[in-house]
């Protein structure tokens, strides 16, 4: 008996040892949806492009799930005490996929020249930068005009991807033929793209981190229909379904399959927060009491449990709980139809119909709009659902032609990057759906956001963001819904798939498949 136990213990130890030791080789089969328009991450930053190209291109840093910076192309970094100088020390043995050495000159070119022209989101942050210089081949210095709190948070591959100077300098970036065969420094290099079918990335043998990556190749399968994507997993064609690959009502069924694991980690940097834009300019939604009534009338727990499989969190306000400087010390809007009715009566709501635009991203969002319509109907608000496709939805928002409209936005880890933009009054302008689309104006809020962005210490910033969150939650410029949970589903023998705050978007260098 004792012998058998010893054997068992030995076997257990061997297995644990095997678990701990990554296995080299193998292929990952992953779903990608929709098909990326291009893999040149410096030019295109939409979700699918980042997911595939995030293995080809790299930034100076990565972030862990607490959003703390981790080394990537930069092996270390220092911030001066006044918060104005950021110095990055680069790895000295990094090569581009075509064999050329990667140096600080590439960093200066990428950040100061290429991305300033092409990267809509980054160039707003770069306005705080006075100069970018390279004192030697492995050192880069960013000097800021004034302190900018979230600065250390803009160096991941999707926000500041390094592009090769020797290929792009002096060329027309958008029509450079090299865009079709992207060259990065990442753990995987581009091998093949059969449009409409698949993209193949293969291991970069000269990668600067010893032993990595573990996988030989990654196949990204383009499968346009959500039901077919579920079938692809069920029949064993793919082993990894990144968040949002299958309809929510299929998630549980697939997660119950044998050897199947599921995680909602790997979205901390994005902190996807859903809300309904409420048009603050006209109609009943211009009245604060009406907007508060909408918050009380919605059963958001129901939406999370019935439509999102219980994944995600009911939102408490404008900041996601994974984003820095979040506070839940704000007024809570629990489901309370009576309170909603009282508010509507107080404002003298006359039953005017409000138009609601669902998000044209599939079945879940359509159902969600219907659930909200029913909730609001129960307190006497008449809702008309107006359906559009993505282009039509873009235009209606950009032209402010709506009363209520579903959306969700990323927060990029810091309120100065992904929250302030939706509420500050200087961001009210037609023609974009990424600014203050609701038309909310409050000089106090403007002030607080401005001060918090440039405050030097984290304590100072926390205090200012606490205050702004409380004010916003009282005013309800938009109706916050859920912090979305996008589950990644994968075979349990795929290990270390999600190791950073952007999960599969830059994580495959750590991934291995247990035999």
């Amino acid at each position: 008996m004792l012998k058998r136990l010893t054997l068992l213990a030995a076997a257990f130890m061997v297995t644990t040892a095997l678990h701990a030791e990554p296995v080299t080789g193998g292929r990952a089969n992953v779903v990608i949806q929709p098909e990326p328009p291009s893999l040149m991450l410096g030019l295109v930053q939409n979700g699918p492009t980042q997911m595939v190209a995030g293995q080809i291109y790299e930034g100076l840093l990565r972030y862990d799930e607490k959003l703390q910076p981790m080394p990537q192309l930069a092996k270390s970094w220092e911030v001066s005490e006044d918060g104005l100088t950021y110095t990055f020390n680069l790895h000295d043995n990094v090569k581009w996929h075509d064999g050329e050495p990667f140096t600080s000159a590439d960093v200066v070119f990428s950040a100061d020249v290429f991305l300033r022209e092409t990267h809509a989101r980054l160039r707003t942050s770069l306005e705080h930068v006075e100069s970018i210089t390279a004192p030697d081949d492995t050192t880069v210095v960013f000097k800021l005009k004034q302190p900018f709190g979230p600065f250390l948070g803009i160096f991941e591959a999707g926000t500041m991807p390094m592009v090769p100077k020797h290929i792009y300098e002096g060329t027309e970036y958008k029509s450079n033929p090299a865009n079709n065969t992207p060259i990065g420094t990442g753990p995987f290099k581009f091998a093949e793209w059969e449009k409409g079918s698949h993209i193949l990335l293969t291991k970069f043998e000269d990668y600067y981190e010893d032993g990595k990556p573990y996988l030989d190749e990654i196949y990204w399968h383009v499968i346009p229909d959500a039901a077919s994507r579920a079938v692809a997993y069920e029949t064993g064609v793919v082993d990894i379904l990144p968040g949002g690959s299958v309809e929510n009502f299929d998630v549980q069924r697939i997660a119950d399959m044998e050897n199947t694991c599921i995680t909602d980690k790997g979205w901390e940097y994005f902190g996807p927060l859903s809300w309904m834009w409420l048009n603050n300019r006209e109609g009943p939604t211009a009245d604060k009491r009406f907007r508060q009534a909408v918050m009380y009338a919605m059963d958001r727990n129901f939406a999370r449990d019935a439509l999102w499989n219980g994944l995600g969190k009911v939102s408490t306000g404008p900041v996601s709980s994974s984003t820095r400087f979040y506070t839940d010390d704000v007024n809570q809007y629990d489901y309370d139809p009576e309170k909603a009715k009282a508010l509507l009566e107080e404002m003298g709501y006359d039953g005017e119909t409000v138009r609601l635009l669902p998000l044209p991203y599939g079945e879940t969002w359509q159902r969600w709009a219907e659930a909200v319509k029913q909730n609001l109907g129960e307190v006497g608000i008449d809702v008309e659902i107006v359906s559009t496709d993505v282009a039509g939805w873009n235009q209606k928002l950009a032209e402010w032609d709506y009363d209520m409209a579903f959306t969700y936005l990323y927060q990029y880890g810091d309120p100065a990057l992904g929250v302030a933009r939706s509420y500050i009054s200087t961001n009210i302008a037609k023609g974009s759906q990424w600014n203050n689309v609701e038309g909310y104006e409050n000089t106090e809020v403007d002030d607080l956001f401005a001060k918090a962005a440039v405050a030097v210490t984290a304590e100072e910033r926390q205090k200012l963001y606490d205050e702004v969150q409380q004010k916003l939650v009282d005013d309800v410029p938009v109706a916050w819904l859920l912090e979305l949970g996008f589950p990644t589903i994968y075979r349990c023998n795929v290990k270390d798939l999600v190791t950073t705050a952007i999960g599969v978007n830059d994580g495959f260098k750590d991934t291995y498949i247990e035999k």
Binding site: V44, K195, G196, D225, S228, T235, A391, G392, A429
Partner: protein, 322 residues
């Protein structure tokens, strides 16, 4: 004959330009434009950035100027550039054409051969159980929504029985070559081609059956019988050949759609064809690409109409004489 073909080609060119112009205005009437869609996907963009994109794509010019530029390009066999996919439109279409042709032509052959054969069989056995069975099947195929039939086929043959691959053009990553690859593609083709062929198969069945029955009542058939010709010869030479006229017309119409692809089938079965390309281009307001696909499929409809007209002359001597 040559004069006839040249005249028809001349007319076709005018029709083609008219179609392009109409499509151009229709697409621009839809809300949104490619710059806004692309900026939208970037996750953040200000109005300045969108304006910069519009300028690059030439979308800031007056609509008529844009149309002029486009038509001038087409006349020089240049279908333009897809800004979203960052590739010339012609390359994108040519890239997808083989897969689409394989799918639609297989479906075409399956539906035409099986549909006509079943129709002839049914007409020869009017009122018998085989006729009833064929007619019922035809009604079923005719009425079943393609999308549903496709999903059911995947569920049954792919998920439950695991006999056939449920989607894709070939086994990705298997790197088959030669005959093994052809076999692999063939296996992937069975479900989408059959599903896509069902509707037209039903139409051919019903049309052939009705047409055969109608022709068999005509006087010249009675005469042939009176002359003492064998029933098989009457069926083949007299009835079948005459009954084929409406079928040829229909086949011409179906053939014209071959290049346009099959949006639903290609979507459900992840078939990398033109139908999907078109659908994505529509969703993203990729004007040049969408117009390019429309152009190619309109041209194909016109070409196949011409071929149908020429075929008529062979099938039916009366038309040749007229």
């Amino acid at each position: 004959m040559l004069r006839f073909i040249l005249m028809r080609l001349g007319k076709a060119a005018i029709i083609l330009i008219a179609i392009l112009t109409l499509n151009f205005f229709l697409i621009h009437a839809a809300p949104g434009d490619p710059a806004a869609v692309m900026a939208g996907e970037a996750g953040a963009a200000d109005a300045k950035f969108i304006a910069q994109l519009r300028e690059q794509f030439g979308l800031d010019k007056p609509l008529l100027t844009q149309l002029g530029i486009y038509l001038k390009g087409v006349l020089q066999f240049d279908l333009g550039y897809s800004y979203r996919q960052q590739m010339p439109v012609a390359d994108l279409i040519l890239d997808r054409l083989p897969a689409t042709l394989l799918l639609t032509m297989t479906a075409f052959v399956i539906s035409l051969v099986l549909g006509t054969a079943a129709g002839v069989l049914a007409s020869a056995r009017v009122g018998k159980w085989s006729d009833t069975a064929i007619s019922t099947l035809a009604l079923l195929f005719y009425a079943t929504p393609l999308y549903w039939a496709a999903l059911m086929a995947v569920l049954l043959f792919s998920v439950y029985f695991n006999w056939l691959p449920g989607f894709g053009y070939e086994t990705v990553g298997a790197n088959y070559t030669g005959f093994r690859r052809a076999l692999d593609i063939g296996q992937h083709l069975i479900l989408p081609a059959t599903t896509l062929g069902l509707f037209f198969m039903a139409v051919y069945m019903r049309m052939t059956r009705a047409s055969m029955l109608e022709v068999s009542q005509l006087d010249f058939v009675k005469t042939a019988r009176a002359k003492g010709l064998k029933s098989g010869i009457i069926q083949r030479r007299h009835i079948f050949r005459n009954a084929m006229l409406p079928v040829v017309t229909l086949a011409g119409l179906q053939a014209g759609q071959l290049v346009g692809g099959a949006v639903l089938t290609e979507t459900v079965f992840a078939w990398p064809g033109i139908g999907r390309l078109m659908f994505e281009a529509l969703a993203q307001r990729d004007y040049n690409l969408l117009l390019g696909v429309f152009f190619v499929s309109a041209a194909m409809v016109l070409v196949f109409n011409l071929i149908t007209d020429i075929l008529y002359r062979f099938v039916d001597p009366r038309i040749r004489v007229a």
